[in-house]
């Protein structure tokens, strides 16, 4: 108990010191900074729609990660899984069925994108189950391979003949572009898909046998083994589903925002990594994650406001994100220990 409060105190101290450091360097008061972030992210219709747009990939990746984190499978590969989803969608849209009507093409892109993301996540699953390789390392490394693969495609075989040699794929046909709300960038089919999946995941996690197994394995692998659970099957499933969800996020980005494949850094500005923080802040609860990804989307959106309107350096928001990550880490670890103890005692 005491240790937990000490941890919380420590993490708050780190945050306050960090904010104070920003103040010392820039002489922008933290309250003004946060006011500016909040206003620009949530204070106008425009800000809200951008926040919503940004929250879509965070939500899908965060939901996917929550499943594997729940079962203590540490998938850090959402970034790569997202990119492979984008690759799958591009493949369908440009090379497999470019002339298909919209109502067929869009579902096919989502389906294949999810499969590609899921397959990418299966690699660490297989290596973990068959060779006992650490999935953190494998999934992390696979991100870099996915980044290089996307770059290879847009510099190489998928480079458009119409773009003067620049690393872009050809633009998607109109039938492969997701509709958006009015003139915003909210590609609502992906958003609706994410919300439905959040509810389904919630039900799976708390109301199904698989969810029960996931939670048992996450709490104590020994207990799960003792109970005779098929741990390998669960590891496969959580990674496959998680990768699939991240893949959907990738489909949303290329079909909803960019309408083409481009270099990896142009598709995702680190959503897969930010989603790790989102999943933990949402306490690995699918419904909370929906809320947190909206708030975190706001933080990312507000981040450019403090650069443009307060003249703070571009890295300030990364600094704040880092502070939040420290906070979450300290909180998260004391929390899990605490809740495990409580559960053992209580139930």
């Amino acid at each position: 108990m005491l240790k937990r409060y000490k941890n919380i105190g420590l993490s708050f101290l780190v945050i306050f010191l960090g904010l104070f450091a920003i103040y010392l360097v820039s002489s922008v008061r933290p309250d003004i900074m946060f006011r500016s972030i909040a206003l620009s992210a949530f204070g106008s219709i425009y800000g809200l729609t951008e926040t919503l747009t940004k929250s879509i990939p965070l939500m899908l990746c965060g939901l996917g990660l929550s499943l594997s984190f729940r079962s203590s499978v540490w998938n850090i590969g959402a970034e790569g899984q997202l990119l492979m989803g984008a690759v799958g969608a591009t493949w369908i849209a440009l090379y497999i069925m470019p002339n298909a009507p919209k109502f067929l093409l869009i579902p096919a892109m989502f389906l294949v994108g999810a499969i590609c993301g899921g397959m990418w996540a299966l690699i660490p699953a297989v290596l973990k189950v068959k060779f006992n390789l650490n999935e953190i390392i494998v999934s992390l490394m696979l991100n870099y391979i996915a980044i290089e693969f996307v770059n290879y495609l847009v510099y190489g075989p998928w480079k458009s003949p119409y773009e003067w040699g620049f690393p872009y794929s050809t633009k998607f046909p109109e039938s492969a572009q997701l509709p958006r709300i009015l003139d915003t960038r909210v590609h609502y089919p992906t958003l609706i898909l994410a919300l439905i999946l959040a509810v389904i995941l919630y039900i799976i996690l708390y109301r199904s046998k698989l969810g029960y197994e996931i939670r048992v394995i996450g709490d104590s692998i020994d207990a799960a083994r003792y109970a005779g659970l098929d741990i390998h099957r669960v590891v496969f499933l959580v990674l496959l589903l998680g990768g699939g969800l991240a893949g959907l996020a990738g489909v949303g980005e290329v079909a909803g925002i960019h309408h083409r494949l481009r270099v990896a850094s142009g598709i995702s500005s680190g959503y897969g990594y930010t989603a790790v923080i989102v999943a933990w802040l949402g306490r690995l609860n699918p419904l909370l994650i929906v809320l947190v990804s909206f708030l975190f989307g706001g933080l990312l959106v507000g981040g450019d406001a403090i650069q443009v309107s307060l003249g703070l350096p571009g890295s300030t928001i990364n600094f704040i994100n880092g502070l939040i990550l420290i906070f979450v880490l300290v909180q998260g670890f004391s929390k899990t220990r605490f809740s495990t103890i409580k559960r053992r005692g209580g139930k």
Binding site: N151, F166, H258, D304, Q307, V308, G314
Partner: protein, 393 residues
Amino acid sequence: MRSKFLVVLSLVLLFVLTVNTVNGVGAEKKLRVAFIYVGPIGDYGWSHAHEMARQSLIKKLPWVEFLPPAESVPEADVIRFIDRFVREEKADVIFTTSFGYMDATIEAGKKYPDKIFFHCSGYSRSKNVGTYFAELYQIYYLNGLMAGALTKTNKVGYVGAHPIPEVIRHINAFALGVQEVNPKATVDVRWLFSWYDPSKARMAAESLISDGCDVLAFTEDSPTVVTVGEEYTKKGKPVYTFGHYSPMQKYGPNSCVSGQLVHWEVIYRDILEKIRRKVYTNTNLENVDYWWLLKEKAVELGGEFGVPINPKFIPALKDKKITDPVFGKISVYDLVMKRLSQMKANPEKFDPFTGPIKDQTGKVRIEAGRRASHDELWNMDWFVSNVIAKIPK
């Protein structure tokens, strides 16, 4: 009575006139101008050069309100920065300074038809989106002349950022310069697949050096390659380098021979003044494309402003003599200076991409006597014959 009336009238008139003139002067609404950079301002390459230009114009153009620039803007997010500049900062003109911003800038042009956009290094334009570029191939060619003269191993290296036409064109121009003074020398290339990556640039430079290269040029937004050259030179293994984009001679006083420098402010000033005079409006930018070189003074030869060649290397370049079909026996130093003045002339008296130019397979790409067209330069996806690296396909 009447005189009193006249006095009052004249006073009133005077008042109205002065107020009007004062208003007339003060009423010129300041043009609000925003810049969006892809790298950190401190990268000391691309974004830094744009920022230096912006800062130098703050005093020179008092009728412009320069908004705080946005740095390190990911390509995926640039549209939101544009939105913010337009909606909240009320920007009238926005410069987007990375080729990856192209789609978003065109999209923004449609979304905000009454604003003016200029996109650096792209090819898509619309009625309120123009493009501009300060082109360096002439300078790379001049650097190549010096590189060909200075290499002892006959192996010259190039650290390339991305295999896109711009960088390929620069490597080719550099290689043409090398070839002109040293037909035996080859040019090897290492790709970074990044505009800014000091650690990869160091690896690439060291890999070229270990393959025997003793002169290096590069495209990357940090002075890393120059620093590596300086380290080797100090250790007694001379490696000569050419600075890129910003003055980098101070990072390698014994290694940096010359380099490419850019004066973006020349272009920015021209654009902004034409916007002020309503030469450029939000309806006539469809064909406005700046492609400015030496003759427009948008680029400069040197590793330091005003220093075309590091004085340390002038004797060596004066000693190296070649036979030129036009100039006869001439030192490389004199050749560089001759070519420089030829290309500064308007219209240019010389262009590095004048045929016959063969590619790596021996195929003639530019026939004898013909200069490469703008489109050929823009599309360039082949290496000239003395480059031994391959373009990733």
